[in-house]
Symmetry: C2
Subunit: 573 residues, 2 copies
């Protein structure tokens, strides 16, 4: 390709609202353009990189025996009603009607349709299967942002494993884990696998792949001691035991105007240190007002509440709902003697004595509360958010807490979808079983953004050779100089003949503009051809990562760069 004929609209300025580095750089370097909130066009450079990402994913999926398919994106709503996800997905699901007034949805993910196709499998002899596709998905995100990191329309490689039993699923799951590690390595990422919540997908277990990045929206808990890794929405930690002293009797006491954990602790340090208080929250869980109890110094993680209750609709209660339920306002709430609403308590409250909590009477609290004696807890769960400084449950080391981008997510679904759609097979004894499914996803464009987040400098993007839009740029310092032009064209043809993905910058622009564009775009290798060098039989070779430049003989450079490119393509293999 010739830069003079290519559509590479580089910009000096990023969009005013672009905060993430990848957003700024991908727009400025002419890879993407926004056409609506969370909706991007891949310009030619973006599409070149995107196709290379797809090819790597395809190669690694094919290598584990997966078979590629392509499913419609516009689904009859009835299919989603059958799995129960039509309502579950809420406003995230784009809904529409066709000309015959049939309810339709735009696919967010394809468990339903793949399960439907799995009904064509009847015997254990036709299992295992791994099916995948690389296709667009739609999500009506409430807050699209950060360029390609959170969008409303994107490409996902989604795959689905079908097995006769859970042991088979374990094998498929581990195959995917390894394939994903190879994919991320080849993309130039250092993503790690962490335990995660299964969310609306259902199933028994899930693992996310997280690329460490300040642009990420996930918080990850890791332990250097034993390697424990989990998303904050799933992570647990060990607690320092607390000495509660002997049992005492419960006693109401006035606490006028003390409505926060902190204020109460300061006023009554001897009985109401934060770790000696019970924090009482009221949530509406699938329509049912519910008390949620945590230790005073702990925070609820809502996803844990959602996962524990399996509910599709969880929200904090409104002030008037709280007063109606408990007869008091927040700040004086508690679970003592409450039997007209279910109570879920965090595990950290188990066995605790001499605690302080609100009396459901404004400006009064109880002290001397023995949780299991005085509060009718119906359900115990891990509900609290791990905090920096907590210790690892596995090995006791201090836990680390960092932000990252979810670049992949794999799920053990089990039989939820195969049962809903009747994907039943017979085993070797003639007995029927629902197929055991796994579901596995990688967002293609989000991975491109994650690569940029992890590979850039002040001058621009630093693509790994595996997915660079071009591997090499031959920059003509003076395209109007016949010797420069002739030498540059010879190098260009030589690299093309060697199968190198090369672009020649033959534009009539100042060399500084060309260098800046090549660096912004992030082409791994630049060969600079200038009049002085050509006269001496030399060119300059610049490595994008580090921007180091060396002189190479005109006659050696094609072989040398071909070798560098070939080595670069092996990244992560």
């Amino acid at each position: 390709m010739r830069w003079s004929q290519a559509h590479i609209p580089t910009l000096r300025e990023a969009p005013a609202d672009a905060e993430a580095v990848s957003h700024r750089l991908l727009v400025r370097a002419g890879f993407i353009r926004q056409i609506a909130a969370g909706s991007y066009t891949m310009l030619p450079l973006g599409q070149r990189t995107r196709l290379k990402v797809e090819r790597i994913i395809r190669e690694e999926m094919d290598a584990i025996g997966a078979q590629e398919m392509l499913l419609p994106t516009l689904h009859p709503a009835d299919i989603w009603r059958k799995s129960g996800r039509y309502d579950l997905m809420g406003d995230n699901l784009f809904k529409l009607k066709d000309r015959k007034d049939t309810d339709m949805v735009l696919g967010m993910t394809e468990e339903e349709i793949f399960a439907l196709h799995a009904t064509e499998i009847f015997s254990y002899r036709d299992l295992p299967q791994i099916w995948y596709q690389m296709h667009i998905k739609f999500r009506d995100e409430p807050r699209p942002k950060a360029g390609l990191l959170r969008v409303r329309e994107f490409t996902m490689k989604d795959s689905y494993s079908l097995d006769i039993d859970w042991a088979g699923l374990d094998v498929a799951f581990e195959k995917h884990r390894e394939a994903y590690k190879r994919i991320f390595a080849r993309l130039g990422l250092s993503a790690v696998d962490v335990e995660a919540s299964s969310g609306t997908m259902g199933g028994s277990e899930s693992v996310e792949f997280i690329q460490r990045s300040e642009a990420g929206e996930d918080w990850i808990v890791t332990c250097d001691g034993c390697g424990y890794r989990a998303n904050l929405e799933k992570a647990t930690s060990a607690l320092v035991p607390i000495e509660d002293g002997e049992s005492t009797s419960i006693e109401k006491f006035p606490t006028p105007g003390l409505r926060t954990i902190k204020a109460l602790a300061e006023a009554f340090p001897e009985v109401a240190a934060p770790e000696r208080q019970i924090k009482t929250l009221v949530y509406v869980v699938d329509g049912q007002p519910t008390l949620i109890l945590l230790r005073g110094d702990h925070e609820l993680h809502e996803q844990k509440l959602i996962d524990h209750t399996g509910s599709t609709n969880v929200r904090p209660a409104h002030p008037e709902e709280i007063r109606e339920l408990l007869g008091a306002d927040p700040g004086s709430l508690g679970g003592v003697g409450v039997t007209h609403a279910p109570i879920i308590a965090d595990n950290a409250l188990r066995g605790r004595r001499n605690m302080t909590t609100g009396a459901n009477e404004d400006d009064f609290h109880y002290k001397g509360v023995e949780v299991e004696r005085d509060i009718p807890v119906g359900d115990w769960a891990d509900l609290r958010t791990v905090a920096l400084g907590d210790r690892c449950v596995e090995c006791g080391s201090a836990l680390d807490l960092w932000k990252g981008i979810e670049v992949g997510h794999i799920f053990k679904l089990g039989t939820k979808y195969s049962e809903a759609f009747g994907a039943i097979v017979q085993d070797e004894h003639g007995d029927s079983h629902p197929i055991v499914m796994g579901s596995y996803g990688i967002g293609v464009e989000r991975n491109m953004a994650a690569v940029v987040e992890a590979n850039h400098d002040d001058a621009g993007i630093i693509w790994p050779a595996t997915i660079a839009p071009y591997e090499v740029v031959v920059t003509l310092v003076r395209p109007d100089d016949p010797a420069v032009k002739e030498a540059g064209e010879r190098l260009y043809s030589g690299l093309l003949a060697n199968g190198v993905d090369v672009i020649i910058d033959d534009r009539e622009e100042r060399p500084g503009v060309k260098f800046a564009d090549a660096e912004l775009v992030g082409i791994p290798f630049r060969i600079t051809v200038g009049p002085k060098g050509v006269a001496e039989g030399k060119v300059e070779l610049t490595i994008r990562r580090g921007l180091e430049t060396e002189e190479v003989g005109l006659d050696q450079v094609v072989a040398k760069v071909t070798e560098l490119v070939t080595a670069g393509r092996q990244l992560g293999r």
Copy 2:
């Protein structure tokens, strides 16, 4: 790939509603499955062929210097309102609202968005450009049918040329015409280019590529004499001159109960032969009742009326609308003296005398009508449908009329979209011009179906090697025979090593089942490995097209088949 591990659900029976051969065969051979009306999944075989079709299209587009992009499919409706197509597309356009109640549409085609991106080009120096994508499109077809031939969601390669002037557009248009011819040849099609209507796309000229097929929905007019080729909606023909005799005066006469051209001609053969009658139709054109006049033996082609009026909404008037307008019912209608409604007449009525037409009084007609004297025709146009037996306007030869499938369509759009979106560039003198655009489309899955329509026999599909899901099948007659298995596996590995796309049929099935499946699926070359042959050092090689079989030495077959496959891949190059 091993057939025993592949998901190839072949069926004995086609769906009851499947009429088109390609529909029946693609379902039976396990390439596609319907999930809703006009909505199909590509199963693994279908996706393999589809990816090969895409690759051929991509190679030929890249060869004419086109740059690939990828655009969102979910568009803000405002973009379509800006071009005027939001209403124009009517119910064919899927419409929806996002969570913020913004009107959105699912893209049917992408002139609007590409024109939007063209606003980033400012100078003639950055032209010409050809941009393309390969992406799904949505059309809410009133009657999806015939498998992949008429669907609601499909992949289209759509490209757009951008030029400074019309001469540049002509170059881009011809480049596309040649690229399309190469694409169709490589797919195993014999599609020809024909003049066509531009329809809702707008623009000055368009050419369709039509594959002859009874499953097609387009009627094509061709002339063997001079090569004239046009879609019936655009085609014209020469008429045999008619001797009308001397002018006479107009006279009303009673025609009780005579309400059809035929009945009137039989009752009054001397003045009302069909070619001497004027057929009067009433259409509502953008809300305006309009008289359409044709010769009695001619038929209106509605698309010609749409194209001539440029109207977005054309329909036959209802009976009550007709009576209100003309005071009579169909059968007695005419244009004599009608000045309160526009009249459009077909060119074949120009200069005619002594004609007969309805008197706008039930059971009365006029005779002696001189069209241009007695009827206030406001507009003359080519409105009639060419009929079998008509003569070529170019050379006078008899015209042929046949059915075909539209496999590609190319348009000279001009400046409609660049003006709407402000895609303006400066020429070398600093003068501003709207970019001159062309638009070019190929439906990927429809082409797959067209290939099947054109390449099949009673046993199944006959894929050209260029797009066969597998190029070769190694069929083990007795996979449980160690010698057969060993020989077959050796051939399989040998072919894989040669880069051949091969599948080994290692299933424990009867040979007849395997042969039938291989033929149904349409794999170009089959190597049959049986115990007797292996003992003699021989295998059978069957060519799918013609099903001829020959014996080949075990040691020669890999080389021979590799050669056949390599030759097959060159089809149309």
